[in-house]
Symmetry: D2
Subunit: 326 residues, 4 copies
């Protein structure tokens, strides 16, 4: 199987080469995709990320896809694990690329160093907020590097794809992205409906960025699209807080909820902050109010329709930049 | 009175000069403030802007304050009016600087051309959304101009202040800014309370930028701070829509509201979209539902406490950049 | 004549409008040219600049051309003169646009404010050195301003033309530009030849930028192209210094020279540093060595072939950016 | 010895950590140096580079120094060699870091990924020309990356040092840098003097960048400083060409020269273009004219005084940015 992978990769690299003229001489452009996420240290949660990567590779079999973890802390933990033979032996399911994941700058730069000068950076972010803007700042700065001879420009094209709930601008109105995301949530609605429960999502949120609008507009369109089930979104940080979710549940006399992390992976926040046994977990706090809780511990990336959205966001970013992915 | 103004200005210019060394020789730095707003063509609405300007000039008597209108369409209307002697004669209350207002680029550049190399651009925006990000892009680009000799750098310092509801980042957490704004709304709460009405704000909103979070978090903190009055925010464009406001009013059986534009001036949106006689105005749509409506046609800039917030945002931007305003 | 000018300008503005789609709606693009020079306070020297402007306007009758002076000191002197009615009356030959010349930032910004969003900034610089790089920094920064809606981007296109002796990069190899400039110097060679003299150019030079290569390569190609006359270039500042010019003259036993400023205008440097009566002028120092001196006090801009080169550099900058000048 | 190296490195890393506050919390800043050169495939030529690296490590024993090769072609050759066990075995003198050298982007990014957020990029360039400006563009772009939370900014400080002959700007006037370089050439002057020969340097030069001024000003100051020996500089590409060197040699009746590459390493240009047996080598062309030639096949980096200059340029870049190297 490893051999096949290597062979596939080699063929992919060959086929992903495009020819183009860049001033002085013909430069062979090579495409690549960087899948950037915050990162997680919870091994089973990786499935949310790897599923998106698989879909991406199925869609563009001749374009290498690499993973970047933006969190310095999470990368450090993987570095320790990678250096620990016992850990590596005990976790054959963790791929090499996770054990050795780098930040977005190094991932992009090493890709470029190997000759991949046409890159799409696709975040797995949910909302267009702090992390997405930070990553956009990296991409914009790198894409701005000009050289005196055009052929030495490090990047032919370097662009960024949209988060799940879209982003600013008129090319792809974010409201349409929310509508598409809402459609992909049907499985959660079905789950809640069967259980006779409301659906509660735990978004990440941010104390220093007003990202609540994306979550609440998503909630609003969920309500319009699935009036049969009450959907509520709260956040770990910032606004809308859990207290607001609880208040509405109580107002409406709801006594049963399905809860799921509105995050790409069901990592630490899902297992602890949302569904953990501590008193301050959402589960504990809901149960204390007499609401019975059905946690669904799967990251959004495990939902194939969500994974497909990220694949389409890559396709859009490529099309907008006239990059032909193969 | 004109003479006094000129004299004051001259003294202001002299005093606003700061001395500093910029490499090769001593450069005299001069401070200025640009007050940037979308603009309005409704003459009485100008009061919302001019009140902020007055407060700014009171606070920093030795720092000239200039107005920029970001809207191309609105500037063109003023240009036509300025060229029409009949209009000018009929409107002595409209100051020269409004008749001849320029966009932010020209306003900043002309300021710089006159030797003001240390500028604070203070938007009168409510939320950190499209217009604020666009203006930030101007400021960031202009501030990035470097020259081979430091003394020829066009700007010593060029920074931007925060909108009313704050912006991203940790230096001035936006939630605190919302709390401060909420305090300034007390007069509206009193007005609604006296009338036994709910308080409905019409924010601008945006179809292409998820700014709803700022408005809804503001609404949330209004609710917490003033539980005695129901506060709801809807937007002209995008999310949260008027329909959502109406739904809540009906749910709660509210039959009387005070409505006010959550915008710096009570211009076209306030007089027409909000309180106009057309069927699609908020007033008409509310009345159709049997809700009686008390419009309050004053821009937020006419609220002195709001105006003071913008003055403080200028002070913060100056302090963060080690600019000493006088 | 004034009326005709105004009429021509009005027609020019109308015709210079191009239609193009910019995302959300059709934006009318309007072209303009900014002619940027250091500036001069010597009235007759203005002819070097105004000749280039005339040629530019002849070539693109429907594109307004505006002048910017980059020197803060020179602009201040003109501002004083403009404010002095006696001066204005005594100098009817000085056009309004010179009396009120602004720096490049304000000139570009005011152009933009009037709706000209497609601009070519053409410096009248000789060499690609400090001033050209500084101006390029302005242009690059302004051109980089992006807005969330494409239609609000301040500049559709904003580009810079090359100095007389070209600049870095492969699109227009600078050596070819030097060759073209050398051809345009034929009139100086003829002048020197007739007088049985060597030809000495006074370039500006720079203590803080190694611009000597452009001058010496120009001198080298002059030598190859016109072997019948010795051409030497020295600079006011930096390298190659006058001392080196003098040394070669003495080595070769030359006792007669035509001297001319290798600058766009024959301003202060030409009249004083080059041909003035002071002991340290080049003329005085040459005469002290027994070399007879024929000063030619005309800026390079007065040479029609040189003026035409700047017109072509505008044409090249436009063509490279797919701007259709009319 | 390897163990000592590893130990030294580990201690270096620990000591190079500086503590500083970056807004939200204390970030440990770590310093590093990137030594960026074009690259060479000639093994013995590496000594010119490695000598500079050694000096750098001696000067800052607690700051790791990494090598980057800017040439894509040269990196590819090393990659092939690194993948060829026979080559690796046959060349134990080639260090791992050369076999696996990356471009400047990847070198800087990987450094950053390991936590080194305070970097000085020191080019080994001779003149401030194409390669230096390109590298500066990389550094400027990377240094411009801002994040919403200051603590996530990828680089605390990222600056670039000056080439041997200095660069634009007033902080370190380039003429002084040339003077310092001229002093370091004393050994070459002595060599030529002993041999009763002129001294001819082969600079690289550039067809698309007017870099000749740096070389000729260097030559000028060599002449002033060492009048006893004629020094001439020609370039492989562009101006001043070999033909000009030859012309002067013939004019002055010089029949013996010491030739040396004015490049950091004595690589392909030195061994072939300068001193090779082909008809078009400088040696062959000079000998054809009856001039006897003494090639000196050592890169400038092998001259300890030159290596020390690069160390000082790192020190200056650090001091200018308030970085404390240890």
């Amino acid at each position: 199987m490893r051999k096949t992978l290597v062979l596939t990769l080699v063929i992919a690299l060959i086929l992903s080469i495009q020819f183009a003229t860049a001033g002085e001489h013909t430069v062979k452009h090579k495409n690549g995709i960087v899948l950037a996420m915050f990162g997680t240290t919870v091994e089973p949660a990786l499935q949310g990320l790897l599923n998106i990567k698989d879909k991406m590779e199925d869609a563009y079999p001749n374009t290498p896809v690499r993973i970047a973890f933006t969190s310095n802390i999470i990368r450090k933990i993987w570095q320790k694990r990678a250096a620990d033979p016992a850990y590596v032996k005990a976790h054959p399911e963790v791929p090499y690329e996770i054990l050795h994941a780098q930040g977005p700058l190094a991932t992009i730069a090493n890709f470029q160093d190997e000759g991949f000068d046409t890159l799409i950076v696709q975040p797995t972010h949910i909302a267009p907020a702090e992390e997405f803007l930070d990553l956009s700042a990296y991409v914009k700065a790198l894409a701005s590097i000009e050289t005196i001879k055009a052929k030495f420009k490090p990047f032919n094209k370097l662009v960024i794809g949209r988060p799940l709930l879209g982003t600013f601008g008129t090319t792809h109105p974010y409201e349409q992205d929310i509508e598409v995301a809402v459609k992909a949530m049907k499985e959660d609605v079905e789950r809640a409906k069967k259980a006779g429960a409301a659906l509660v999502y735990m978004g990440h949120g941010n104390d220093y960025f007003p990202s609540g609008g994306s979550y609440l507009q998503f909630q609003h369109i969920m309500d319009e699209s699935y009036p049969e089930v009450t959907t509520l979104v709260g956040t770990v940080e910032g606004y809308p807080p859990f207290a607001q979710v609880l208040e509405v549940l109580k107002e409406r006399g709801i006594n049963k909820v399905v809860i799921r992390a509105f995050m790409i992976v069901a990592g630490d926040h899902a297992t602890n902050d949302m569904a953990g046994p501590e008193e301050v977990s959402w589960k504990s706090m809901l149960e204390k109010e007499g609401i019975s809780v059905i946690p669904y511990l799967h990251g959004m990336g495990e939902n194939d329709e969500v994974a497909d959205i990220y694949v389409r966001h890559v396709a859009d970013a490529a099309a907008d930049a006239a990059i032909q992915l193969k």
